[in-house]
Structures are given as C-alpha cells and as structure tokens.
Amino acid sequence: MKKLIDFYNSSIGKKVTMSLTGLFLCTFLLEHLIGNLLLFAGEETFNAYSEFLVSNPVIRFVEIFLFASLLFHPLVGLLLWISNKRTRPQKYEVYQLKENTPLASRITMLTGSLIFVFLVVHLRTFFVPLRLAEVKPSGYALVVEAFSSAPYCAFYVIALVFLAYHLRHGFQSAFQTLGLRTKSYIGLLDAVAFIFWFIIPLGFALLPIYFYFFQPATTAAATALGVH
C-alpha cells in the first residue's frame, strides 16, 4: 500500500493514473459506440440491448470502474494542470510554444472540460431516466426525442469534435506515459490512435445527424397515429 501511495505521489505515478483511466475510458467508448450503432437496427433490437445493460450484473460491476475513472481522470487532470501552472510564475514575454507543439496537445484541459460538461448533460438525458426512473421509458424513444432538437444535436456534435481533439493527443500520450510508445510501435500506435480519435467520434456523430434529418418514428408514436 505504501508503495502504491508513493507511486501515486510521484510525477510519473500521477501521469500513469491519467493514462490508465484515460485508456479505460477509451475501451468504454468503443463498446458504447458498437452498442449505439444498434440504433440503426431499429427500436426492438436497441431496447433489448439497453435492457441487457441495465440488468446484467457484470456490466453493473464494470460500471463501478467506469464511474471511478470518470471521477479520477478529470480530478487528477485538474490537479496536474494546476501544479504545472505554478512552475512558471514569471511568464515569458514572448513564448512560441505553437511552433513546437501540435494544437491538440496544448488544449487538453479545455477539451477535457467540455467533455465533462457534455457528460453531465448526457447522463441527465439518457442514464438517469433509463437507470433511476420509476417507470423505465423506451431507450429508443429517448434518443429520438433528444435528437429532434437542433441545439441539442449541435451541442452533441461539437462535444464530439472536442473529444476528437482530446484523443488526438491523449491516445498516443497514454502509451508514451506507459513507456510503450517505442520506435518499433509508433506506426501501429498511430493507426490504432486514428480509430480512436477519428473513427469513433465520427461514428458517434453520425447518430444525431441521422436522427435529426430522418426522424424515424417510434412504436409509441406510430401506435398513436394508428399506422401500426
């Protein structure tokens, strides 16, 4: 235990905490996207998946780590950011960091913070009614309803652009922190990183775009209209 605390207290230990929680969140993103793509398979399939998530004890267990990561990752990120700010109380008159570093690496705190705001809204829209409400609504209907609003869709897509920037830097950074970004693996790593920072956010963004423009009807709506 003392070893673990010493490790966390070191600069590298804190970065490893960021890295492991960040990568765990990345595996979650992958799972979440695959699940969400079931929305394209229609209401019945998606709702069956959604109920499986709610009732499965394994998912419930993994969820504990998910929420722990969602808590620790931003918290440690914030602590690091604050302590790093303190290392240069007297600023440079001229500082050309942008000539030496990619944009994504300079704005992780900004992109992370917006992701955080997004997550709060996101959990409020979907997780809270599906998990905590007395009467469980149809997951599919919730999605249709949420994505019928243009501002909500826009907010969603913007947050995903920020996620893309966050992972553009974060994914390779996590492997560098673990000491695994070595010469022989950089090529492979960049390829996998592309899936995470580009393909996955793009996949998520397709959902609000599809639902906003095509507005598929839900069973409830169809029944109300008598076209069942």
Partner: protein, 246 residues
C-alpha cells in the same frame, strides 16, 4: 546588420527585473548570438554601464553553459543548435530581438540572463552515475555491447545539461533531461546494476526540485540542441514502472 535587442535586466536574485532595449549596430551576419552580446557589452562598458550578464563557456555547443530564450524559443529559432551556435543571419536587418532567461521555479534568475541550474546538478547527485571502484583498466572487449544499443546510449549521453527542455516545456518539466541521464546508463550493462535505485532517486529529486509534470507535448525534443528523442522519456517511464512493479 543592425538590430534592437530587448533584453531582460535584473540586478540580483531579489531584484524585480525589467526589459531594456538597446540598439546594436554593425553586427556581422556570421557572428554568433553571444558575439553580438559581446559587441553590445563592449559598447555598454565604454559608456560605463553594467554589461549584460549571460552564461557561456565552450561556445561550440558542447558544454551546456549557454541558454537564452530568444523570440520565445529556447536557444532561439531553428533546430539542433545551442545559443552559442546561433548565427545572426537567422535574423533580419532591423529586427527587434527579445532575449530572456530560462523561466522555471527550479531555475531562479541570478542576474540578467543567468539562471541557477544547480537543481539539475542535484538530480545528478541523486543517482546519475555508477558506483565503480577504480582499479586496473578492464579489457576492451570484456563487456560486449551490441552496436544499436551502444548508439542509443551514446545518443542519450549527448545531453549537455543545458536545461532548454525545461525552458521550452509549458510545464517546466525536466523529463527529457532526466530521461537522457537515466537512459544512457540503463541501456548499458555497467549501469543496469543500480538501475532501480537510480530511477527512483532521480525522479524523486526531480519532483522535489519543483519541475512540472510531463504532458507529452514534445516541445523539449523540438528545442533540444542535441535533438535528444522523447523515446528516452518513454524509457524513463518504463524504468520507473519496472522499479515500482518489481
């Protein structure tokens, strides 16, 4: 060529310091940045003013003494060169050049452009060596080392300890310096014996000195006069994890 130098002047550690602009005339484009400062200081001396203090020694990029943030870049514009190797032809006639000291809490300014870098020395004292008993000279081929490994260790060993990595880093992190110093020994059989203790003590000292956390921005690699690769930071992380897990 003629330039205007806007340079940081600070009398002592406790002085608040400020920028002062000086015209510098008739500088040869082939002069180094430090020679331009020499020209300025001679002028200042003639007028009875205090010359601008700056660190320098070898003036050929091997000692690591020099180091100025010039126009917002550690060791000035361009890559792979220390301040003493920077030529005035990198600037244009009539330019205003801003020169400031390395800025980081572990590098307090002593005077003008001179900072105290003993924090880096203390990291070295903490473990940047091998404890070898002196004795007879060992046979040249008694410890075979594969060429690529020797090369990698030599690359790490080319670090001159200038501190530009810290100065360039948005977090004032010393990970490139410590990475190079840990790597040069961790790669070789002679250094492997004390590898765990070394990485533990050097990282501990680095944290105590108040250097920041690495965010993997890689500004250090871009500004390092010896172009030390961030691969050595990855190795430092690996060595640290090995030490913790074993």
């Amino acid at each position: 060529m003629n330039v205007t130098l806007k340079v940081w002047r600070q009398k002592s550690k406790d002085d608040k310091g400020r920028f002062v602009s000086y015209p510098v005339r008739n500088v040869s484009p082939d002069a180094s940045f430090l020679e331009m400062l020499d020209v300025l200081n001679e002028e200042l001396g003639k007028k009875g003013e205090e010359p601008v203090a700056f660190d320098h020694d070898c003036r050929e990029g091997i000692c690591g003494s020099c180091g100025i943030v010039i126009d917002g870049r550690a060791h000035g514009p361009g890559r792979g060169a220390a301040t003493c190797e920077l030529r005035m032809r990198s600037f244009r006639d009539g330019d205003t050049i801003v020169a400031e000291p390395w800025r980081a809490t572990p590098f307090p300014v002593i005077k003008d452009l001179v900072v105290d870098r003993t924090s880096m020395d203390r990291i070295m004292y903490a473990g940047g060596y091998i404890s070898a008993k002196t004795g007879g000279v060992p046979d040249g081929n008694s410890t075979p080392i594969p060429k690529p490994v020797a090369e990698e260790a030599m690359d790490a060993a080319s670090c001159i300890g200038c501190g530009a990595c810290v100065a360039a880093c948005p977090n004032s992190s010393a990970m490139l310096f410590v990475g190079a110093k840990v790597s040069q020994l961790a790669l070789l059989p002679q250094g492997k014996v004390e590898a765990k203790r070394r990485v533990e003590r050097m990282v501990d000292q680095m944290d105590k000195e108040g250097f920041g956390n690495c965010s993997n921005n890689y500004a250090c690699e871009a500004e390092c006069p010896k172009e030390i690769s961030v691969q050595h930071i990855a190795r430092l992380n690996r060595e640290f994890l090995k030490k913790t897990l074993a």
